[in-house]
Symmetry: C2
Subunit: 295 residues, 2 copies
């Protein structure tokens, strides 16, 4: 089957966009579209421009034997701000306050479009280049953690609260839940994380940080290192959290009937910063390198 | 900012692909790209061809005041077969058998790429036109249910096993878990589902069907009707399940040391069938209608 240039470009955008952080070789596209490498190279330059002009993310090339093209999702600071302001307005609605100072949020955080956007924002503001897994704890953080893992192209690991013997040998431990100061348990199958791994933690809510602290301790038991932590909402109080290095997207202050909720703007990196990744450079510079090495 | 045709097409593909089943008006694109409606109409015809030629799904137009263009994810029968054959090979690996006849599958079903593909397959083979929610029960089905909800552009609802008072007034009930014949509980906040809703149930595993049966009963308590059910893996035994109308993607037979696992090919609709949806027709036919009505 033959494809016109416009069709090839549409198709390349679809393929890259559906597979963030996955490397596709030039040969993959030449086979797919029955086209010459020089043709595909020109297509890729257009594709790169589309992503840049509309700030949809970055398309970069990786040189060398395992080289090719990949799409890195990036959100701009302005876009994050708009999305989170809109979300804060919904979260701040007084009808969401439940007795006990809890907020009803599951309609928002389970929404696939919102979860996908949160995932892209985490992927834009946490450095995951060396990461092997995204780790979360059931249940409410799972949708946003899955979408973060999708954007980062990493496997997702879910820590369970009860001990599930149906997953084989399992490592369990206790932690103190900050919400109610109760001792609770978390568990994870031995097979779930390889030793010496590096992980990103994602969770939906942080008050004192007890749950995240427990997750960090559990990762240590697996010989894994936490290299980044993202929480969707953190509370202003207590100011002293049990963990230090984390980013939060929204800051919350619930006081009786009053809810104060704001985007945590200091979290966000400048628009499209951090784009020059080690070992990677722009298409224009090295498209020729790839052509030479593949031939 | 001005865009070339190739750039507009790339961008339209990205926008539609990121937002399955969401309607975009022609005006949305004319504003976004500072282009005439006739230009965008021509772009959309190219976009439609890209999706058709590469069998990436359907792009259709909806006429009328609320009309526009939307992308419907569709997988072909051949593509499903290849994906599931590959997955079955992994699932059938003897090292996955745990004592008690359980299988270690969480590395596969939590994988974002696999979950996304499963979501698209469910969306291609379950009729969700009238559905209001995708409903699953924690924990292992959540990733594939979220991706199904994303493909269908529906909100996700997660039934909890324990009673969570932190979500406000909650409806709880008991059901018989087929795996161990134990009586277990499920619960869902009253607010989670509006009365008279229609829902799609998604779960990762079905043996006797007790969990799905429980979910159907819980939906009835909410005044909601189950109009479609998808399970990822169903077991051959027992042949008599507690529910009748469901599709399963993979059939499994574990007998001591032997694992037989095969794609459930009778599940899949013929390639790109079911594409003529009521009230919708092809771009070529009615692009002019839209132009007229918007002007």
């Amino acid at each position: 089957m033959k494809f016109k240039r416009t069709e090839r470009i549409g198709a390349i955008v679809k393929i890259l966009s559906d597979n963030p952080n996955k490397i596709f070789t030039l040969s993959y596209f030449t086979n797919q579209f029955n086209a010459a490498k020089s043709t595909i190279s020109e297509d890729l330059i257009v594709v790169k421009n589309v992503f840049e002009k509309l700030q949809l993310g970055k398309v970069i090339t990786i040189s060398g034997a395992a080289g090719g093209v990949k799409y890195i999702p990036k959100t701009s600071k302005a876009e994050n701000e708009e999305f989170l302001m809109d979300l804060c307005e919904k979260i701040g609605d007084k009808s969401r306050i439940l007795s006990g100072g809890f907020l009803y949020l599951i309609d928002l955080i389970y929404d696939p479009t919102i979860a996908a956007k949160i995932g892209k924002i985490f992927a834009s503001n946490i450095d995951y280049i060396d990461a092997d897994y995204v780790v979360t704890m059931e249940t409410k953080g799972i949708p946003m953690a899955l979408m973060t893992a999708k954007a980062m192209n990493l496997p997702l690991v879910i820590i369970r609260k009860d001990i599930k013997v149906s997953e084989g040998p399992t490592l369990s431990m206790t932690y103190v839940n900050g919400n109610n100061s109760k001792v609770e348990s978390m568990s994870l199958p031995r097979k779930a994380i390889k030793p010496n791994s590096k992980v990103i933690l994602i969770d939906d809510f942080m008050r004192g940080g007890g749950t995240i602290k427990g997750m960090v301790d559990l990762m240590n038991e697996f010989g894994a290192q936490v290299i980044g932590t993202g929480v969707f909402i953190s509370t202003i109080e207590p100011q002293e959290k049990m963990v230090k290095d984390y980013i939060s997207l929204i800051e919350l202050d619930v006081n009786g009937e009053s809810v104060k909720v704001e985007p945590n703007l200091k979290t966000f990196k400048d628009e499209y910063q951090n784009e020059e990744v080690q070992g990677e450079c722009q298409i224009d510079d090295i498209i020729e390198d790839i052509l030479e090495e593949e031939e």
